[in-house]
Amino acid sequence: MTLYEKIKSLYPELTDRDFSTVIRLQNDSDGKGDYIKSWNHPTLAKPTDEELA
C-alpha cells in the first residue's frame, strides 16, 4: 500500500485535488520512498507515523 493509499484509508473524505494543493506527497527517487512534503489541510490533522505504519 502506498503512502497515498494509507492516507486515503485514514481520511476517505480527502479528494484528489487535496493532494495537489494542501497536501503534498513527494518521492526524491533516492530509495527512501514516499513521504509527506507538506500538510496544510484546514481541518484534518497530519497523520502520525504510528497511523501510517
Binding site: 497515498y4 484528489d16 495537489s20 506527497l25 518521492n27 527517487s29 514516499d34 512534503k37
Partner: protein
C-alpha cells in the same frame, strides 16, 4: 574629415599565465566578425553547457505523489554538470538556463491528470504543464506532457531537477521510459550569462 576608426584594445588578465589566440578559419574568402556594441562576455561553445538525460525503462511511481524523474541515461552532457545518480543539474557556470522536461504518464491504470515542474534547490520553482481529462470517455487520458522555463543558476550551489505527478484512479502508475522518441526527460542549455 575626421578619423572614424574605433580601436580594438587587447588587455591581459590581472592574473593567470595562459595566452589568448584568435584563430582564423580555413578559408579563401575574406570574412568579418562584428563584435556587438555592448559590454559583456562572449559566448562560445566552451562556456555554453548543454545536456539531455532521459528515463530509459519505465519508472514506477505512486499516484498523487510528486516524484523526481530518475533520468539515468545521458544522451549528452557537454560539461559533466548533470548527475545521473541523483538526477540533478548543478552547473559551475552561472547564467540563465533554459530547462526543459517531459513526463509520460503510463502504467496499468489510466492517468487522468498529470503535471510536471522544475524544482530549483529542492523546491517547486515552475509548474510547467498541468493536464486533466474526463475519464468517463476511456480514450481520453493524459499521455505525454512537457514544458520549459528560464531559470537563473548561480554557478555554485544552485541545481535543478524535474518532478512529475500523475493521478491514476486504479492500477500502478509509471513514468514511461523510452528512447526515440523520448517521453520522460530533462534537458537544459545556457542561454546567456
Amino acid at each position: 574629415m575626421g578619423d572614424f576608426m574605433s580601436t580594438l584594445i587587447p588587455t591581459g588578465s590581472a592574473s593567470g599565465t595562459g595566452s589568448m589566440t584568435l584563430a582564423a578559419p580555413v578559408t579563401n574568402s575574406n570574412q568579418t566578425a562584428t563584435l556587438p556594441d555592448a559590454t559583456g562576455t562572449v559566448m562560445v561553445s566552451g562556456n555554453m553547457p548543454a545536456f539531455f538525460a532521459y528515463v530509459s525503462t519505465n519508472q514506477t511511481v505512486s499516484s498523487n505523489t510528486n516524484t523526481k524523474i530518475a533520468a539515468a541515461s545521458v544522451l549528452f552532457d557537454t560539461h559533466g554538470f548533470y548527475s545521473n545518480t541523483n538526477y540533478r543539474f548543478t552547473p559551475t557556470i552561472a547564467g540563465y538556463y533554459q530547462i526543459s522536461g517531459g513526463v509520460g504518464p503510463y502504467g496499468s491504470g489510466i492517468p487522468t491528470r498529470a503535471f510536471l515542474s522544475i524544482y530549483k534547490n529542492g523546491g517547486e520553482w515552475i509548474r510547467l504543464q498541468d493536464i486533466a481529462t474526463n475519464n468517463t470517455n476511456s480514450p481520453q487520458y493524459v499521455d505525454t506532457i512537457s514544458g520549459s522555463g528560464l531559470v537563473y543558476l548561480n554557478g555554485s550551489t544552485d541545481y535543478v531537477e524535474i518532478y512529475g505527478w500523475t493521478l491514476v484512479p486504479s492500477g500502478t502508475p509509471q513514468f514511461q521510459g523510452n528512447a526515440n522518441p523520448f517521453f520522460t526527460f530533462i534537458s537544459g542549455v545556457l542561454v546567456r550569462n
